[in-house]
Amino acid sequence: MLAGTASQMYASNAEGGAENSAVANEMRRQREYQQRATGLFNQSLGQSAPQAAQQQIQQGRQQALQAGQPAMQMPYAASTVPLPGGQDRLSQARLSSQLGLGQQANANLQGYGNYPLQQSLKDMDIGGQLGVVNREASQSAGVLPAELQQASQ
């Protein structure tokens, strides 16, 4: 967008050193904006790589496990009549093991839900920062015609 504007301005003000300087300065500023934006893109790409996805999934698993801890610590009812030979303890250990396995399986699955959430949050964040760069670049480019007009007078 800027390049087209600059070309027109150059065409109509080819002999003005001040104008050329203003355009060159603006080109330099736009390159800086581009570098900032490219840095944001690289940051975003790094946070979307498979390794990052695996970390986000693992983080989601840990969160699901922690969320299930209070439920795991709740006492559950034993048999109304004590069973002989310590079978109560055996029964409770078996139930506890089943609950633990179920919780682990649940956490393994829920971990995958964290990936799109983190990606969405990251995209909103990067999108917001790119928006700031975009506005600055657009505003800077918008000042150039006025600068050229002033320089030509």
């Binding site: 967008m1 600059a6 050329n20 979307s48 498979p50 699955l109 995209d123 928006g131 760069v133 480019a141």
Partner: protein, 204 residues
């Protein structure tokens, strides 16, 4: 700087070429990064889904199978044709439930592929904005982050409920019907059960 109009045109062309090169390089980076999302990655969510849902299904199946056995035994129908039919129906429901879990696991895998593909598209939009910060492509980037929603996975619910309603419930009904038939039989044959059954209309 000292540029003329021809220099400006050249500069503009150079800038455009740089932008295109940056986009091509960035797309290459995105493709290289996303090649790491292998089929094994997507298989992971499929396995996790199956490993989560299948034990729940068996937790529903085992007591239902036992309940069916108890009811058949109570009615003296073990080893009968009814036994074979009802266990066959239960096995069929179980097979359908397993298939349903498999389909949902596959759906979870495909959903993850869709989310990864969407993220790839978001990155390319960001790349286009980054290569030309003052362009209008920013609007698309701003919207991209709002498209994804975190997915949650729910327990399976009552997958064998149809069997329980149709057959175990029906068996209850049959039990009550059997009792009712005995009652009606006694009612219709007052001579056999004299005094045991209250007679309507004073026995007239």
């Amino acid at each position: 700087m000292g540029c003329g109009s021809s220099d400006a045109g050249s500069y503009e062309r150079q800038q455009q070429q740089q932008q295109q090169a940056a986009i091509q390089q960035g797309v290459g980076q995105v493709n290289a990064a996303f090649s790491g999302f292998t089929p094994q990655f997507y298989q992971g969510v499929q396995n996790a889904y199956t490993n989560y849902e299948t034990p729940q299904l068996y937790q529903q199946y085992q007591p239902m199978n036992q309940q069916l056995g108890y009811k058949l035994a109570n009615q003296g129908l073990l080893g009968s044709g009814a036994d074979q039919f009802l266990h066959g129906q239960l096995a069929q429901q179980m097979g359908q439930a397993q298939q349903q879990i498999g389909n949902q696991a596959l759906g979870a895998s495909r959903g993850l592929q869709q989310q990864v593909g969407q993220e790839k598209g978001n990155l390319i939009s960001q790349l286009q904005t980054a290569s030309d910060p003052s362009s209008i492509a920013q609007q698309a980037v701003g919207q991209a982050g709002q498209l994804s929603a975190p997915s949650t996975f729910q327990p399976i619910g009552q997958m064998l409920q149809n069997f329980a309603t149709m057959y175990l419930g029906q068996q209850n009904a049959n039990t009550y019907n059997q009792f009712a038939n005995q009652y009606l039989s006694a009612f219709n044959n007052p001579g056999v059960y004299a005094g045991a059954i209250p007679q309507p209309f004073g026995g007239q």
